[in-house]
């Protein structure tokens, strides 16, 4: 009898989770896979960050100090590849894995074993990429854009780069298919499309973008591979090919990729600002349409990355005007977030601080993007540090800050414990100050004509490079606080209730904190949906 009761008690929490290494290697649970994605992204963030420190160390002074030019170029190339494909994209996928099933009332992702496969491809891909640092000729050094003919001059690292990019692409496509299928088929009854949280919406649109453009990148790098090893001349002018064609194909992937990196950030900001303003999101439906418009426009602006290769005036005008057009739905979003805060009962916990910094600093990155989109001005900015400043404003205080905001927002839900708010606030302020010290001077350097991707520079650029490097070192050091806050939370955080934040709405806050291993095994009732699914 006692045995029966013990058995019943063991089943009461529905936690039939495997233990030890099998739990992670054979994982099919969306929370476990989400955790693995997030840990992987965090590791890659620090690996890519270490490479950024090497770059800033070398650029602290003019002249060659620490590394040779080949290694410097490897660092810029690997930093970009690791941060884009290893840190930001897996980070978003981790958040999607954790949150989408809980937010749509589904018990798990639609294809759990595919989910496991999507994740476990990544460590192999990045082991392969990082091991290219140790082969003859060094790691890839032709830039993350892999332009031929330069990339074809890479040594033994070339096939490793191509195979690694293929693996990353396969992981992203499989992950995206899983997310679309989950959102379209696994929503609880009553969660209509226009009742989904904005994070789910932005991920749905991101996943469509991924399915459309990652195969294009895979096609482009396959053609590079055959050019290198099988005698084709897709991009080799000597054989009748066209190197500029690669740039068109690459940026047909590359521009939507920018939105793949930033749309989930829009979703997270749209969750956090209403919570800490204690008001519903202003203009929910217009936000959805704005995200969809941005996604559509992202397919017809690619050539603004390559105005200087030479193209007909009509094409330049088309791509310039379509680029300007993206400012309209982006402006709608910024105004809606501002309107949400208007007369709200604001409080400034770490997720809200990161969200506010996102709002200001991403907008700076957006404006400098508009500047780069103006054809005659772009002829001045092309390949200078102005462009570096622009996309780092979009990706660091944009995508990375939003991801940190998301982690700080949902961490109490995941762990059932509240983290050290003071330490997280320190993390925010150090990050917010030094990210500007790091990247803002790069606008001045670019406008003064300092080219990007060089290990040495003319002496007149020294002062702002020193300032930028100092900002970089402090920004890098501040990031150590992030894992400290998380580990401290898991070990000794104070327990929280279901609704960790006073103003939080959404189905995930209807679950206990931490949520059971298998959540929503019974779909949420209409009452729970009505309570939770307000936006």
């Amino acid at each position: 009898m006692a045995e029966h009761h013990a058995h019943a008690a063991a089943h009461a929490d529905h936690d039939h989770k495997p233990h030890g290494w099998r739990r992670w290697v054979y994982a099919t649970n969306h929370k476990d896979i989400g955790t693995m994605y997030l840990v992987f992204a965090c590791i890659m963030f620090f690996v890519g960050g270490a490479m950024a420190m090497v770059i800033r160390l070398e650029l602290f002074q003019p002249g060659m100090q620490f590394v040779d030019p080949q290694f410097f170029n490897s660092m810029t190339t690997m930093h970009a590849l690791i941060m884009i494909f290893g840190a930001v994209m897996p980070g978003w996928t981790g958040l999607a894995n954790w949150m989408i099933p809980m937010q749509v009332g589904a018990p798990d992702m639609a294809l759990p074993r595919l989910n496991n496969f999507s994740f476990w491809i990544l460590p192999f891909a990045f082991t392969l990429l990082l091991s290219s640092l140790f082969v003859p000729g060094g790691a890839p050094a032709g830039g993350w854009t892999m332009y031929p003919p330069l990339v074809l001059q890479n040594g033994a690292s070339f096939p490793m780069l191509i195979f690694a990019v293929h693996l990353m692409g396969a992981s992203s496509i499989l992950g995206a298919i899983n997310i679309v299928v989950t959102i379209m088929n696994m929503r609880a009854p009553g969660i209509t499309l226009l009742r989904m949280p904005l994070f789910v919406w932005t991920w749905l649109i991101t996943a469509y973008l991924l399915i459309a453009v990652m195969p294009v990148l895979a096609g482009a790098v396959t053609m590079l591979l055959t050019d290198h090893f099988f005698g084709t001349t897709f991009f080799t002018a000597a054989g009748g090919g066209d190197p500029v064609m690669f740039q068109h194909i690459f940026w047909f992937f590359g521009h939507p990729e920018v939105y793949i990196l930033i749309l989930p950030a829009f979703g997270i900001i749209s969750e956090i600002i209403p919570t800490f303003s204690r008001k519903p999101l202003f203009g929910y439906e217009t936000m959805v349409y704005a995200v969809a418009s941005i996604a559509f426009l992202s397919f017809i602006v690619w050539a603004h990355h390559m105005f200087t290769v030479g193209m007909p005036l009509a094409a330049q005008l088309f791509f310039m005007l379509s680029t300007m057009l993206i400012a309209v739905p982006t402006g709608v979003k910024v105004f809606n977030w501002t309107a949400t805060m208007w007369r709200g009962s604001l409080s400034f916990e770490p997720p809200m601080l990161f969200a506010l910094a996102f709002l200001f600093l991403f907008t700076i990155g957006g404006f400098s993007g508009l500047m780069c989109g103006i054809v005659p001005a772009d002829y001045q900015y092309q390949d200078t540090y102005f462009v570096v400043a622009h996309f780092h404003y979009v990706l660091v205080p944009g995508a990375i800050f939003a991801m940190m905001a998301g982690v700080y927002y949902w961490l109490p839900k995941w762990t059932g414990k509240m983290y050290d708010l003071k330490l997280a606030t320190w993390h925010f302020w150090l990050s917010a100050i030094f990210v500007n010290v790091l990247f803002f001077p790069q606008h001045f350097l670019g406008l003064a004509g300092m080219p990007r991707r060089i290990p040495d520079y003319a002496v007149q650029f020294t002062d702002w490079n020193m300032v930028s490097s100092i900002g970089g070192f402090f920004f890098g050091a501040a990031q150590v606080l992030f894992p400290i806050v998380i580990i401290k939370c898991i070990r000794s955080g104070q327990p929280v209730g279901n609704r960790a934040w006073e103003g939080a709405h959404g189905l995930e806050w209807e679950l206990p904190s931490p949520p059971p291993y298998h959540s929503w095994t019974t779909p949420p009732s209409d009452a729970v949906i009505a309570r939770g699914a307000e936006h």
Partner: protein, 58 residues
């Protein structure tokens, strides 16, 4: 002719059957949409290579 089942368990059994049917339908929809998106991805992959080949052949 079989007498109609009015036992209290009938509703529960009917609901279980309906849920199983619905679950089967959902599995079918999941499989179909996953295959559809995989085909779309493959079409983009081969489509772009074919586009470059056609352009080179001109």
């Amino acid at each position: 002719m079989r007498a109609q089942d009015h036992t209290p368990g009938r509703l529960a059994r009917t609901a279980a059957v309906a849920a199983a049917v619905d679950e089967a339908g959902r599995r079918r929809r999941v499989r179909r949409s996953a295959i559809l998106f995989a085909v779309i991805a493959a079409a983009f992959y081969f489509g772009f290579i074919a586009t470059v080949l056609m352009r080179a052949a001109r």
